[in-house]
């Protein structure tokens, strides 16, 4: 509370709770979206480790694969997969907010801006899956 004077009325200042992000689902979703970057970073580390092992030869790669099969890392990577997807979806859905594209004097709809991101995601994922799974 600030000091009351004749000209400055006394007012009540509410402190924001440390747990403000639990107050509403939208806030929690925001915090999860921000936290997802930690899991994205972890997946980057895994990819770098895989690349390094691949360069060192089949023995190193097999050892890494074996390490990645541990229950803890399987669980961590499953959670990471969820967060990476969550990160991508929320990011794609936010792009129409930041981008205003006009074609023929008309503003493109949010769907028209977000959709190409999803199409590119599916096409690139399918291409990688094809390379990996063709035998």
């Amino acid at each position: 509370m600030i000091n009351p004077t004749e000209y400055l009325p006394r007012s009540y200042h509410t402190r924001v709770s440390t747990y403000w992000w639990l107050a509403r689902w939208a806030y929690l979703k925001f915090i999860l979206r921000e936290a997802s970057s930690v899991f994205v970073a972890w997946i980057v580390v895994v990819t770098l480790l895989q690349t390094r092992a691949l360069r060192r030869g089949p023995a190193d790669y097999a050892e890494l694969q074996n390490w990645l099969r541990s229950p803890f890392l399987l669980a961590l990577n499953a959670v990471s997969l969820f967060f990476v997807i969550f990160h991508a979806v929320t990011w794609f859905n936010l792009t129409p907010k930041a981008m205003v594209i006009r074609l023929g004097g008309k503003r493109l709809s949010s769907l028209a801006i977000a959709a190409p991101n999803y199409v590119a995601w599916v096409v690139i994922s399918a291409a990688i899956a094809w390379i990996l799974l063709r035998g």
Binding site: M1, I2, P4, P9, R10, S11, Y12, H13, T14, V16, W20, W21, A23, R24, A26, Y27, F30, E34, L94, K97, A98, M99, V100, R102, G105, R107
Partner: protein
């Protein structure tokens, strides 16, 4: 539908109370009533000392913003029947100092609004008998942001503003962007320094709730993100191009 509903209303008397408290009132539940009607019923029939702001009753003046069941709302546009059977909790807007009951101190917003220069700035004025023409496309570029009624619900919903009161906040930035995008305006460079700093656009972490609670679909979150892009381009231009060559 039951014919009565309970309202739990925040009370605060600066002369006597050390903190906020809740008082309960039972009011008639009528299909056509909004929360503001219920508050006026309380003031007229149950407790004349209840204080709250309101004016137009039609979502234009932006005076009656409050927190209804935890969500910032214009109480003139929030139907009581949507909260049946109740109780409905009516609190002052979050993130603002409470002066009395449901009345908050909005001075901070007014200072920030003025700082963002929300008016048309001309380097050269045309003679009074000449008009500033604008095509429908040019108007369309800023129209959405011009719908802001300064109700400050976006500030009540913004956790960044709650945690960092120095943050310029959604409406002030959206209104600056409204003028930046106006073809008649020449003040974008004047606003750049005010907007593009840590407590301006870069303070925004894109929670996006300002847009969700906006009763006029202004989309302040979009205004801020779009301006981040503009400010980055200006910074890049200032870095790459010789002095004076950028639009600043």
């Amino acid at each position: 539908m039951a014919n009565r509903i309970t309202l739990e209303v925040t009370r605060y008397d600066p002369a006597h109370d050390e903190k906020l408290r809740l008082d309960s009132y039972e009011v008639p539940l009528r299909k056509e009533w909004v929360v503001l009607d219920a508050l006026n019923y309380i003031k007229d029939h149950l407790d004349g000392s209840l204080s709250f702001r309101w004016s137009c009753r039609m979502g234009v003046c932006g005076s009656c913003g409050m927190t209804v069941n935890g969500v910032p709302k214009l109480t003139c546009a929030t139907f009581l029947s949507d909260y049946a059977p109740g109780p409905v909790r009516v609190e002052p807007m979050s993130n603002f100092p409470v002066l009395r009951d449901l009345v908050v101190d909005t001075s901070d917003f007014l200072v920030k609004l003025a700082k963002s220069k929300p008016w048309i700035i001309r380097k050269v004025e045309k003679p009074l008998d000449e008009e500033y023409f604008q095509t429908p496309e040019q108007m369309d570029a800023y129209k959405q942001f011009s719908m802001c009624i300064n109700c400050m619900l976006c500030y009540a919903a913004c956790p960044v503003y709650g945690l960092d009161p120095l943050f310029s906040g959604p409406a002030a930035i959206a209104l600056a962007q409204r003028y930046n995008l106006d073809s008649r305006d020449q003040g974008a460079s004047d606003r750049l320094d005010i907007l593009s700093h840590h407590e301006g656009i870069w303070g925004c972490t894109f929670v996006g709730e300002c847009t969700q609670v906006c009763p006029k679909n202004v989309d302040p979150a979009a205004a801020i993100q779009q301006y981040k892009l503009t400010a980055t381009m200006e910074w890049l231009k200032a870095l790459v191009l010789p002095r004076g060559a950028s639009s600043r």
